[in-house]
């Protein structure tokens, strides 16, 4: 390992340790903000592992997140399974779903894929509701556990760490290299012998896996699963905006997008409760016109200029 990498690893370890003791400092209001932020950190970072290098905007986060929440709800409520077995099963199911969807759509280029993923959450919500209605039945999707907010926060922190390590490994691997080439020019990638479809499918499966895992972990926080809440399209958009705001070409990019966004969102919710949608739109405009590479891009531009 190079010294710079060792240094980064050290910084990462310190940040994780600081994050881990946060619930001991405050276990009320600020922890509830931190838990929401941690959920988005994990979701946005795993989202940008796929969408960053390939430049394919996937609006499918809610679809996989919903699978996680829904399976935990059904399993615990109707089949008396434990939370843990459902939290293991849900990401596997989502990975399989992502495989099928990836095979069917990732051969398509750009815009068709985006449009397809936009409808995906709605489609899966209807599909699981239909299956439940006709074959399984329901006694209400209750997820009653003894987890406190701090437990959920720590689990989400754990997932975030795994996502970062996974991303770090991908970036160093042949797969990560292949994805960068695909993102720059898919034709070239195909000509040099990269199996473009499979490379994309594998990364897409990983975002499905993590989103469902996070959905499963968050389910006990919600305590009762309403399908249209866990499959909410707003979640998909928020993940995209936070990741782009931070910048997707660095692993830590989404992290620096999520934190200011969450705090700004909170401030606006308190002072101007009717303007959050406006804020969402403004963030999009700022990303497009001012911050095409996110905060990380801006930061790098300044450091480059300073170095000159």
């Amino acid at each position: 390992m190079k010294p710079a990498e060792l240094r980064n690893l050290g910084i990462g370890a310190v940040l994780v340790a600081l994050a881990a003791i946060f619930p001991l400092v405050n276990d009320g209001y600020w922890l509830s903000i931190a838990t929401t932020a941690m959920m988005y950190i994990a979701l946005s970072t795993s989202w940008s592992l796929f969408s960053g290098p390939t430049h394919l905007i996937a609006l499918s986060t809610a679809a996989f997140f919903g699978i996680g929440g829904y399976l935990v709800g059904t399993g615990m409520s109707d089949y008396d399974t434990s939370f843990w077995s459902m939290a293991i099963l849900a990401p596997l199911v989502a990975t399989a779903v992502a495989l099928l969807i990836g095979l069917a759509t990732l051969r398509l280029s750009g815009v068709y894929f985006v449009i397809f993923t936009l409808g995906l959450a709605e489609m899966i919500r209807n599909l699981v509701s239909w299956v439940q209605n006709n074959f399984l039945g329901s006694r209400g999707l209750y997820v009653l556990t003894d987890f406190t907010e701090a437990h959920i926060y720590w689990m989400l922190l754990g997932v975030s760490v795994v996502v970062f390590l996974f991303g770090w490994w991908i970036n160093r691997s042949r797969l990560g290299f292949a994805l960068k080439i695909i993102g720059n020019d898919e034709e070239v990638a195909r000509h040099v012998g990269i199996n473009t479809a499979w490379s994309k499918v594998i990364l897409f499966m990983s975002t499905g896996f993590f989103a469902a895992l996070i959905g499963a972990i968050v389910a006990p926080r919600y305590s009762y699963i309403e399908p249209n809440v866990v499959f909410s399209p707003q979640l998909s958009f928020l993940v995209v905006i936070m990741a782009l705001l931070g910048g997707t070409h660095r692993l830590w990019g989404p992290l620096v997008g999520v934190i200011p966004f969450t705090l700004a969102w909170e401030a606006i919710s308190v002072s101007f409760p009717n303007s959050t949608t406006l804020f969402l739109g403004l963030s999009f405009l700022i990303i497009v016109y001012v911050l095409p590479d996110g905060f990380t891009g801006l930061l790098e531009k300044f450091t480059r200029r300073a170095a000159k």
């Binding site: 509830s32 209807n126 239909w130 209400g140 009653l144 699963i225 707003q234 308190v270 009717n274 959050t276």
Partner: protein
């Protein structure tokens, strides 16, 4: 935007009332702070705006008009702090935490929707806030009250909900108004699936034959195939476990198709004034979830005050029960006599309360076993025709066409 204006108006109104209260009661004490996290936007905003928000406005205005609540030997006015959660549970949790720890409110009102009540319950429990839930219909009272001893239930159980509909149909059958065949449809979403699941065996056991059984996805804009299918099965009764949009859409299609049944039941939102406002005399005899006894003086006073102060009519189901939940909180706070949340929770558990829906008390599972479950539109009023523990329902009558 209207919501924004309304909220500001509400706050302005509340503060104006606080001012008058302060001037009239000379130097009145600090207001008692009440918090509520409402769905001002998002999918559940419609129900919240009909059933919850106007009642909070009404209650705060009435309490402040009489000088406030009697605590610590004096009168203290009430102040209400409202946040929007955009119908998102993680926003809801944050906002409840904010009310409890940043705004340091003294008490909180219950949120709208089963999921939101249960998601917020751990935080209410942590800070000893009494949670008098209304819009939370569940069969899990036993487990929930064990986990959250501060949580109380007022609007009934899922089983009671289905039993009510079955009671109404059985009464109609005994009167010879309908036969044995039922067309049953449901929205394929959490509560709709749960109700249909519960109803199938119960209806069969009561000797009803389900001749048509169909579900439709949440948000289906065109329900004409569902109603056409039901019509083709020639049932004696039609039952829909429906949500607000489909309650309206199914009724509209039944009118278009001229579905001739002597009992037509739709679930949530049948009790809304907007329902009779839209369909007028055509829904005479329609059955639906909810109902009230409109003839008690308390109910008549409440409905008149609701119309006068909020400018809108109260709905014929959870509105009155939500107002009753505020009365329970009010009487418990005054009963304790100081701002002591833990004592207030104990007071609610141990006492009975005189409210707009009559006497309310809670059993060992924190459940009030007195609620109306089915109503029927008769001359523009939605009378209760089935209940649990109320005993003041009138007998349902056969529906006679869509005129």
């Amino acid at each position: 935007m209207t919501i924004g204006i309304k909220r500001r108006a509400l706050l302005a109104g509340a503060s104006a009332l606080t001012l008058t209260a302060m001037t009239s009661a000379a130097f009145a004490a600090d207001p008692i702070k009440f918090g509520v996290v409402a769905h001002l936007t998002g999918p559940l905003a419609g129900g919240e705006a009909v059933t919850h928000t106007p009642n909070i406005e009404l209650w705060a205005a009435q309490v402040n008009a009489r000088g406030g609540l009697k605590v610590d030997g004096g009168m203290r006015p009430v102040e209400v702090i409202t946040y929007d959660d955009k119908t998102d549970p993680s926003e809801h949790i944050k906002a409840v935490q904010r009310l409890a720890t940043q705004d340091k409110v003294d008490f909180m009102f219950s949120p709208y929707g089963t999921g939101f009540n249960i998601a917020a319950a751990p935080i209410y429990a942590k800070y000893d806030f009494p949670l008098v839930a209304v819009s939370a219909i569940t069969d899990q009272q036993e487990e929930l009250s064990k986990r959250f001893p501060n949580m109380f239930f007022t609007l009934g159980t899922t089983t009671g909900f289905v039993e009510g509909a079955l009671d109404a149909l059985t009464t109609l059958r005994e009167a010879g108004s309908i036969g044995n065949t039922v067309a049953m449809v449901n929205v394929a979403d959490a509560f709709g699936i749960e109700l249909a699941d519960k109803a199938r065996p119960m209806f069969k056991e009561a000797g009803f034959e389900i001749v048509y059984d169909k579900s439709y996805p949440l948000g289906t804009p065109d329900l004409s195939p569902v109603v056409k299918g039901a019509k083709a099965a020639e049932p004696d009764a039609f039952v829909a476990w429906s949500y607000p949009p489909d309650t309206f859409a199914l009724t509209e299609q039944a009118i278009i198709e001229d579905l001739q049944v002597n009992a037509f039941y739709t679930a949530v939102a049948t009790a809304f004034p907007a329902f009779s406002g839209k369909f007028g005399s055509k829904i005479e005899g329609n059955l639906g979830a909810g109902g009230i006894n409109p003839d008690t003086p308390a109910m008549q006073d409440y409905r008149a005050a609701h119309l006068e102060i909020t400018g809108g009519e109260a709905d014929y189901w959870a509105s009155a029960t939500y107002y009753a939940s505020l009365q329970i909180l009010e009487q418990a706070i005054e009963g304790v006599g100081t701002i002591d949340r833990e004592a207030t929770v104990a007071y609610i558990a141990d006492n009975s309360f005189d409210t707009v829906i009559g006497e309310v008390s809670f059993d060992e599972q924190n459940n009030s076993m007195r609620f109306w479950s089915v109503g029927q539109w008769i001359d523009g009023v939605f009378h209760a025709v089935a209940d649990t523990g109320m005993g003041d329902s009138v007998a349902p009558v056969a529906k006679d066409g869509w005129n």
